[in-house]
């Protein structure tokens, strides 16, 4: 799906209108923009700033403050791997090393073919089932390197099927 800049601006204006009378709406606007496009398109910053009567610096400051917001499109599949203490206690660092080697990317990167993004996360609240990951928003617990391989293969197959 390709969206032209004009279409995109139209969509962003529609989102902004939706939050017009809400107090302190910037985070909600950004969440909605990211849900629509997968990331916060750089050209949307000035449009959002103008509508909310903020400076571009303020909007940029908020976008970059929060780990959740992306400034570039993510891969087709997003693997979030927990790196916090509970998961570390049962091998999360080894699992992280395995994921990096398997995908050939570091954290905060996407594979060159655009299929996978690898993101660190600091606690998914699934600590009694560590090590924990989230793949495309679905949680998986007690993840071994073998299970991770199987999950990635499965996701890749599904992606291939969808073209």
């Amino acid at each position: 799906m390709h969206t032209s800049a004009v279409d995109r601006n139209h969509d962003i204006r529609r989102i902004l209108a939706q939050f017009k009378d809400r107090p302190g709406p910037l985070l909600e606007v950004l969440h909605t923009v990211q849900a629509a496009f997968g990331f916060i398109p750089p050209q949307s910053i000035s449009l959002i700033a103008e509508h909310l009567n903020l400076s571009r610096a303020e909007v940029h400051g908020v976008v970059t403050f929060y780990h959740h917001f992306r400034c570039a499109p993510p891969g087709q599949h997003v693997l979030q791997l927990c790196r916090a203490e509970s998961c570390q206690a049962v091998g999360a660092e080894a699992l992280a090393a395995h994921a990096r080697a398997r995908l050939g990317v570091d954290f905060h990167e996407s594979t060159p073919d655009g299929r996978f993004s690898l993101e660190p996360v600091y606690c998914l609240g699934n600590c009694a089932c560590s090590p924990a990951v989230m793949l495309d928003g679905r949680p998986y617990g007690r993840v071994t390197p073998e299970r991770l391989d199987a999950l990635l293969r499965e996701a890749d197959r599904a992606a291939g099927g969808n073209g």
Partner: protein
């Protein structure tokens, strides 16, 4: 018709509960058996998840952990009639893990359908609000004060005192906000409660609003909890439909509007003033206190900021009375605490008990020791800012004061176990690294100190002037504790200092190289 309970809790989902649910619906249909499937929350025994329950004359019978491959065999064993099977654990309430617990806040979690107002009301729900609506607001606040309830988010500030401050502010717009930005590793009680019994949180917030004269509430929920968001959204909608929220709460003429605001992956937003900044749509930078949020909080108005567990405990206290709740616990730690047991542990999960259980009882009687079978060497209590406690101190009772006395803190009640393969210098490094990643950047001791901390520990690990660097690290920790604006920079040194104190060999051993 037999009811089968299949947890929809995200921990259970992470172990395949959805696939098991699909398999059993398919199998029941093929066998022409009529079953009712309820997606409940988790009971909190995660080593048994997915743990399914079947309604029977003997109460609910638990089977677990169930995999897709087990499903046909369960039907073959006539599990709908309580048939024997190797996965049959017995009546849920009689399992030792549950029988020894004192579930007050979690009384309905894993029991009811979290989206059903009718189910909630049938299990004691909304009796607290009904009572509160018939009371003088000051009497409601007084009941919370006398219960001894303290903030379960970690700071343990007396909840009733906070409410009293908001109540005493001049009339006008006031807010009730719920901090559901549960970012501490090893904690998941907020998530479990929201996924298992969200209406208790909604009722608690409504009571708070009635008590202090607020008409609007926000739940600040972390973005890492999409399943909790879904359940909470449905529960709020159901509460509106049944007039437990909105312009005429329970026919009282009182108004309370409640909405969810989703965080965006910033640990610091669990700090209350940072959360307020974020709710207002800004960078989650901490505010200087005073003024307290109770005086000048959200949009500059008097605001209650409480954790999920704190608010979800309120209906029970109003319903049963302050004395009932204060009857649990020890010393100044009254009531119960939902402890969360995680990390390298055989039986991880949620244990709600009165304060006062020893760490050893939690780790060995409930937890069954480490998951690896090796000795437990250290536990970290209270999240990434909590101290590491060595095995020699495992007889310490778990309450706010007893842990403070050994230089540790209870925080939000998470306990993460590590076996003897842990490298405590690495864990100390991680504490500083985490602080560097999550620092809001407003104050220098936290923003710069944490990065310097990582570098110094790297030098120690590499064996560069270990003695000098250990001294530098101690001085840096002291500076961060004394000079930081909030608890992130002010407490991130706690795990580092405790690791240096109790596990010195992990730092000094490197000195010999």
């Amino acid at each position: 018709m037999t009811t089968i309970y299949v947890p929809g809790d995200s921990g259970a989902l992470s172990l395949g509960a959805d696939a098991v649910c699909r398999a059993l619906s398919r199998e029941a249909a093929e066998r022409r058996l009529e079953v009712k499937v309820v997606r409940n929350g988790s009971r909190g025994a995660y080593w048994l998840e997915p743990m399914l329950e079947v309604s029977s004359e003997r109460g609910r019978l638990a089977y677990g952990p169930v995999s897709v491959a087990d499903v046909p065999g369960l039907f073959d064993a006539r599990w709908l009639e309580g048939g024997a099977h190797r996965l049959l654990l017995g009546p849920t309430d009689e399992l030792p893990w549950f029988a020894n617990q004192q579930r007050l806040t979690f009384e309905r979690v894993g029991v009811i359908d979290p989206r059903s107002v009718a189910d909630y009301v049938a299990h004691g729900g909304y009796q607290g609000l009904r009572r509160a609506l018939s009371m003088d607001p000051a009497a409601v606040v007084d009941r919370i004060v006398r219960s001894g309830l303290r903030g379960r988010g970690g700071a343990a500030f007396p909840t009733g005192i906070k409410w009293k401050t908001v109540l005493e502010q001049p009339p006008g717009q006031k807010y009730v906000t719920c901090n559901a930005d549960e970012g501490d590793s090893g904690t998941f009680s907020d998530r479990m409660l929201i996924e298992g019994d969200p209406l208790s949180l909604i009722e608690g917030m409504t009571i708070a609003a009635i008590a202090v004269g607020a008409t609007h509430g926000y739940i600040y929920l972390r973005a890492e909890y999409p399943h909790a968001w879904r359940t909470l959204t449905q529960a709020i909608a159901a509460a509106y439909t049944a007039d437990y929220l909105g312009g005429d709460v329970m026919g009282s003429g009182r108004r309370f509007e409640l909405e969810i605001r989703v965080g965006a992956g910033a640990y610091i937003c669990g700090e209350e003033t940072s959360m307020l900044e974020s709710l207002e749509g800004r960078r989650g930078e901490v505010r200087v206190r005073p003024p307290l949020p109770a005086v000048k909080g959200l949009f500059g108005r008097p605001t209650i900021v409480n954790n999920v567990i704190t608010l979800a405990t309120v209906p029970l206290i109003v319903r049963e009375g302050a004395e009932f709740y204060a009857g649990f616990g020890m010393g100044r730690s009254r009531g119960t605490l939902p402890l969360q047991l995680a990390g390298n542990i055989k039986r991880g999960g949620l244990i709600e008990r009165a304060f006062g259980l020893s760490l050893r009882e939690i780790l060995y009687d409930y937890g069954g020791g480490s998951g690896s079978g090796r000795p437990i060497r250290a536990v970290q209590i209270g999240g990434p800012l909590g101290a590491y406690v060595p095995a020699a101190q495992f007889d310490t009772p778990v309450d706010y004061e007893a842990l403070a006395a050994i230089g540790a803190m209870l925080g939000h009640g998470g306990i993460v176990a590590f076996d003897d393969t842990v490298d405590m210098a690495r864990m100390a490094r991680y504490a500083m690294e985490f602080c560097a990643i999550e620092s809001c950047g407003k104050c220098t001791p936290c923003r710069i100190g944490s990065t310097r901390g990582v570098e110094i520990i790297d030098h120690i690990i590499a064996g560069h002037d270990p003695q000098g660097n250990l001294e530098r690290l101690e001085a840096l920790c002291e500076l961060m504790v004394q000079g930081s604006l909030c608890g992130l920079g002010g407490m991130a040194p706690f795990p580092v200092q405790s690791a240096m104190k109790h596990f010195r060999e992990d730092f000094s051993a490197r000195a010999q190289h």
